[in-house]
Amino acid sequence: MNIQKLLEKTKAFLDTAERKRKEKRKYLKHVIKKLKKHEKKLIARLESEADKATRDKLEKEINLAHAHRKKGLKVLKGLKKANKSSQGGSGV
């Protein structure tokens, strides 16, 4: 590893904002994973449900879980982008 790379790595470690972003990504991934599981479970329940009112309720819940997951992925993408741009900035 050359000095430049080592310096970059040290800078990345010392950069609190970057560390916080990394941590946030970790927890966000966890929530997204849970939402995916939740959504799948709801879809499975919907498939076996005959009652119309319950089906309506389940559909609403699925839409909501999906919207949350979509937002989660968007936030995650934003964090990754911010990370990349800060890394790119350090190389200049």
Binding site: E23, V31, K34, H38, K60, H68
Partner: protein, 617 residues
């Protein structure tokens, strides 16, 4: 009431008032007649100061690791026992472990059985301290290590970083402990040349009782059994006390440590008092067995010492062996009865009679641990919500228990048409106002030792409390017209007000469902469904209201009331959702933050609403 009757909160202060001048007088006399005594006492003082610094240092690291660990020790007894042993061994302070355990108990984070397990473990953990002092502290020139530790420690204390500061306190704490032991050792060594304390040794059972009492008193005064034990070991090493009397002193110290715990728990809540009770039962039972079997135990110590290759004249190490055997014996004896003991304590130590407005989880012991204090505030705010939701239900002329039952909401509404004579103001004064005041006061006191992130968390909880109060106020505004129109001859207006009641009852039910899902990290996000329902209801209202006015089904004043009251119902819902988002979210702080970051905003909620409208056939 007789004037000489004092409340039990006054007893410790009264004891302190008598004890302190007595101790000062004895010490001053001692310093005057013997410089060696002065050195021993200074050694004890430095040692105790070291303990304080050590505790301060460990507190810097309790924000997270220790609390997470402790949270995981609740399911199995062996886990709580091991936690007690390991944490006390590492921190060399059973009192800090007790404080943490009491604060966890009072915040309702661990059950009493787990707390008792930790205390049992802590008793075993203290025995390691005796081994360290007897095996290491006396065999090497300990003060040589103390000086660099103090220097590095103090430099670290001056650093800004919390972690480095904590390390500094731990290092200087250890340095002071070593220095204290050194001075005690030196003091006893030179004391030996002037006075032979062994001349005052008492043999047989009278000696056992007398020295156990001295050990007890010394521990109560120093508030640390560890300090007493070190004093005993150093005195024993200098042959200033006999081996038999040292054993009795160690037994006394074990009882003494519980007395400090009892005094400390007098002001605490019922769980803290029960834990102190368990501590007393354990240590007293162990001490009684140890005193009754002292000769058999001494023999057992000889056998075990020989087995470990400890010389028959190495009394300090033999004392450590004794201390371990007798605490181990206590744990083995009491462990099978732990559940029985918990039941006994729950039966005998009852909570002080309290009203709904008295806090159940706020306890000053939790100030020491910021994350625990936050959890205590969260639980207390949930208590506030419980009281408030009953008021909101009452204001709607409904019964909370019925709302939370599985019965269809429409059925409940239809069956409770008669307006209830429910005084919101009186109920608010009785079960919310005072409690919210206590929470706010606790938050401002707890905030002093918190990091910005932790303060932010408390700020959110306080805001949740304010949302609860606002929801009650809005319900009060709503109640006036609601009571009037529930009995109205106009069916349309009755229907509209039933609709308001039904929608608010659904909110209370849904909030309860989310709360019950507790550990599921996505549960709190499902509160967004309430937001969608709230927006849908609001949009539908405009259309309905127009129809009702156009077709002359309700009068103009009725329409104004309906519009205003729907506004209040909207605010109640919004406040309760906000409260739920802050309060029902459990687990790690960062996980909760991640959840909050993907909660849907207005635009996204409207999009969902639009999609669901479009998908309708």
């Amino acid at each position: 009431m007789a004037p000489f009757l004092t409340s039990h909160a006054d007893i410790p202060s009264m004891i302190k008032k008598i004890i302190l001048p007595t101790i000062f007088a004895i010490l001053t006399y001692g310093f005057w007649i013997s410089p060696d005594f002065k050195e021993i006492a200074a050694g004890v003082a430095i040692f105790l100061f070291g303990m304080l610094a050590l505790e301060e240092g460990f507190k810097a690291f309790t924000g997270g690791v220790l609390e997470r660990l402790l949270r995981r020790t609740t399911d199995k007894l062996w886990k709580s026992l091991s936690f007690g042993i390991v944490s006390t061994t590492l921190m060399q302070s059973s009192s800090l472990v007790s404080v943490i355990t009491i604060s966890f108990l009072s915040a309702g984070l661990i059950p009493l059985a787990a707390g008792v397990g930790i205390i049992f473990g802590a008793n075993l953990g203290t025995t390691i301290g005796a081994w360290l002092v007897a095996g290491f502290g006396l065999k090497v020139k300990i003060s040589a290590y103390a000086m660099p530790m103090l220097v590095f420690g103090v430099i670290l204390i001056f650093q800004k970083s919390k972690g480095l500061k904590g390390c500094g306190y731990i290092l200087s704490g250890l340095g002071f402990l070593f220095l204290g032991i050194h001075h005690m050792k030196e003091g006893f060594e030179s004391f030996k040349e002037t006075i032979d304390l062994t001349a005052y040794a008492v043999e047989g059972y009278p000696g056992v009782f007398l020295f156990a009492l001295i050990g007890l008193a010394a521990t109560v005064v120093m508030q640390s059994s560890h300090a007493t034990l070190v004093l005993i070991i150093t005195a024993l090493a200098a042959r200033q006390i006999t081996y038999e009397n040292a054993l009795a002193l160690a037994i006394g110290a074990n009882i003494g440590t519980t007395i400090t715990a009892i005094i400390g728990s007098l002001g605490s809540n019922v769980e803290g008092r029960r834990l102190a009770g368990a501590h007393l039962i354990f240590n007293l039972a162990t001490a009684i067995v140890a005193i009754a079997m002292i000769y058999q135990l001494t023999h057992a110590v000889d056998v075990v010492s020989a087995w470990f290759g400890i010389g028959s004249e190495d009394y300090t190490l033999k004392l450590a062996v004794f201390h371990t055997i007798f605490n181990l014996l206590g744990v083995l004896l009491m462990l099978p009865f732990i559940n029985m003991m918990v039941r006994f304590l729950q039966r005998t130590i009852k909570p002080r009679t309290r009203t709904g407005s008295q806090p159940r989880h706020l306890h000053s012991a939790t100030f020491e641990l910021p994350d625990t204090a936050i959890e205590a505030v969260r639980k207390e705010t949930l208590h506030l919500y419980d009281n408030a939701s009953a008021i909101i239900a009452g204001g709607l002329s409904l019964d909370l228990a019925e709302i939370l039952s599985g019965r269809p909401i429409d059925e409940i509404i239809t069956n409770s048409r008669k307006p209830k004579d429910f005084d919101i103001d009186e109920n608010y004064d009785r079960s919310v106002k005072e409690l919210f005041g206590e929470i706010v006061q606790f938050i401002s006191r707890a905030q002093a030792t918190m990091s910005p992130e932790q303060s932010e968390e408390l700020f959110m909880l306080r805001a949740a409390g304010r949302d609860i109060v606002e929801a009650i106020k809005d319900t009060k505004h709503l109640q006036k017209n609601l009571s009037q129109y529930l009995g109205s001859d106009n069916e349309e207006i009755r229907k509209e007000y039933d609709q308001i009641r039904s929608s608010l009852a659904s909110v209370l039910r849904e909030l309860d469902a989310v709360r019950q899902r507790g550990d599921d990290s996505t549960a709190v996000l499902s509160l967004d469904s309430l937001k969608v329902a709230m927006r849908k209801y609001d949009q539908g209202l405009d259309y309905r209201l127009n129809t009702l006015i156009r077709e002359d089904l309700i009068s103009a004043p009725m329409s104004i009331s309906l519009m205003n009251d729907n506004g209040y119902a909207y605010d109640v819902t919004q406040n309760l959702i906000q409260m739920g988002e802050a309060l029902f979210s459990t687990g790690e702080r960062r996980l909760r933050e991640a959840e909050r970051s993907i909660s849907l905003d207005k635009g996204e909620l409207d999009e969902i609403l639009q999609n669901s409208e479009n998908s309708k056939p």
